[in-house]
């Protein structure tokens, strides 16, 4: 059993690149549509909520509401992009298109496949998050050049949510189950992580829960750099995100091995 798991681990440090490149090639064929699709949603939220609520809310934590919200939307767009990629597209490649099966005839191991898929989902998250960052910075809602520090955090956030979604992918018998994860996990997280309103308005218990959620750690890192403010507890935030990326990776691999190689 342990031996089998070891054989399923990534074979080396670069095998996953072949998997990533396969997905990149497929994406290139529909790049424009895909980018617009990924951008539209967070943009609508940003400007809809930002301008609409902004009038009522006024300033939040010393910034305009739209600038406050922008940081949240960057993190949320990364979360959404990598989640959707891992839930729907990766599930299709595993299940109905049997792409993973073909990969398993080769030098690629299951671990390489999972790693390649996670890296690809994180890449999509990075593209979505970066695009919004550029738009908000261009419109003057984010501070240059400190906003550039947001980019690696966006990528890390993408890894975290791809990794978490991979567990759901590994466990779901069909597409129908994904909506539970989206509505019961991601949507509450959106409201409990300081994306749309500051956490300190919540009761203490909720603030405790928020501290356990990866999205709030991502936002705690992204918001200060976008507003050019000092960040506190960088190591803690990065550490928590790192664990959220790493542990689900191994768990999902074990689950996928049980599912695909039984």
């Amino acid at each position: 059993m342990i031996e089998g798991f070891a054989a399923a681990l990534p074979a080396n440090a670069w095998n996953w690149v072949a998997v990533w490149r396969r997905n990149y090639l497929a994406w290139k064929k529909v790049a424009l549509v895909s980018l617009l699709g990924n951008l539209a949603d967070p943009m609508i939220y940003l400007f809809g909520l930002g301008t609409g609520l902004g009038i009522m809310v006024g300033r939040v934590d010393g910034a305009s509401y739209i600038a406050f919200l922008a940081a949240g939307m960057v993190a949320v767009s990364a979360m959404t992009a990598s989640t959707l990629e891992t839930l729907y597209a990766a599930f299709a490649r595993m299940h109905s298109q049997r792409t993973w099966e073909a990969m398993l005839y080769t030098h690629v191991t299951l671990g390489d496949i999972v790693l390649g898929e996670l890296a690809w989902a994180a890449t999509k998250a990075f593209m979505a998050g970066t695009a919004i960052t550029i738009v908000t910075a261009t419109l003057g809602y984010a501070a240059w050049p400190s906003v550039l520090y947001a980019l690696p955090i966006i990528a890390l956030t993408g890894c975290v949510f791809a990794s978490l979604a991979m567990i759901v992918t590994a466990l779901s018998p069909s597409y129908d189950y994904f909506v539970f994860y989206q509505t019961l996990v991601l949507t509450p997280m959106l409201f409990l992580s300081g994306a749309v309103f500051p956490l300190n308005q919540l009761p203490g218990a909720f603030q405790q829960i928020a501290r356990c959620m990866p999205l709030s750690h991502a936002i705690d890192l992204i918001r200060p750099v976008m507003l050019d403010r000092p960040i506190s507890g960088i190591a803690l935030h990065v550490g928590v995100l790192g664990l959220y990326a790493l542990l689900p990776f191994f768990l999902s691999m074990a689950l996928l091995r049980r599912r695909l190689m039984r």
Binding site: A7, A18, R22, A26, Q97, R98, E101, A102, Y105, H107
Partner: protein
Amino acid sequence: MSQDQKHQVLKRKLGPEDLRRFETPAIERESHGQTSAKSSVPDSLSTVAVDFAGVTKSYGNKIVVDELSFSVASGECFGLLGPNGAGKSTIARMLLGMTCPDAGTITVLGVPVPARARLARRGIGVVPQFDNLDQEFTVRENLLVFGRYFGMSTRQSEAVIPSLLEFARLERKADARVSELSGGMKRCLTMARALINDPQLIVMDEPTTGLDPHARHLIWERLRALLARGKTIILTTHFMEEAERLCDRLCVLEKGRNIAEGGPQALIDEHIGCQVMEIYGGDPHELLSLVKPHSQRIEVSGETLYCYAPDPDQVRTQLQGRAGLRLLLRPANLEDVFLRLTGREMEE
């Protein structure tokens, strides 16, 4: 594999049916044989491509592969013949290390599987039962992307792609998307894809299921070309004709058990050994008593009487003058063996 079995394999390797493989010189085959016959340590790499010994696999409490043993000499076409659910695909998956057996040992190309399956896969090409090409990619892109999974650079893949396209007769479709190809073309592309790592062993899981006769003949012809190049092929099928045409040896599976093994003609001779007269158009049970004294064995399936008769003329005489009967005399084939072994509706 015992020394005895190995000699069997060697004897077979040098048998007359090998002569039809013009491109692999008999000399080379012979020298292979000698090296391994002399050495006391099994030199498995040169003679035995695949060895299953007492392999068992069950899902839940259903035994899918049951104490299965067989071995495949390199350069031969070995058939796994069995009805739906006999365990053919499961055997193929175990061979690739994609699932672990519950008991028994598997050796592929001299390497223990699943322990070192990744190494073994370097020398294996796979044509799966269910198409898993990338539909949105072109033919060329499919090959390129698959080459990368073997660590091949774009340049390395591009160097072999023209010959693969030629092999698959897809030169003019190189830039067509897979979704535009016919079923037969897709299967040819899958075969080409399986060759990108220049494998010694090719595993084909029902390569002609669902194809029209033209495509089927093309696949058979391509398969023979691979054998002529000295490749080893494991072919699963439930078409008796396919097995009879292509396989040097085969193993008949029922519920994961190996119920017979040997060359197609040897199996036919051993289990049937005479011509078959099919009689239909009358009440089989009434006819049964008439022809029984002149037959070695009789079986009834539906409305057809299968009469294994050493002297078919006597049977014919016996049935003379009966209106509406149709008689068909034909050589025995693998299907007869298969049905005999797995049982027709009723046996006398």
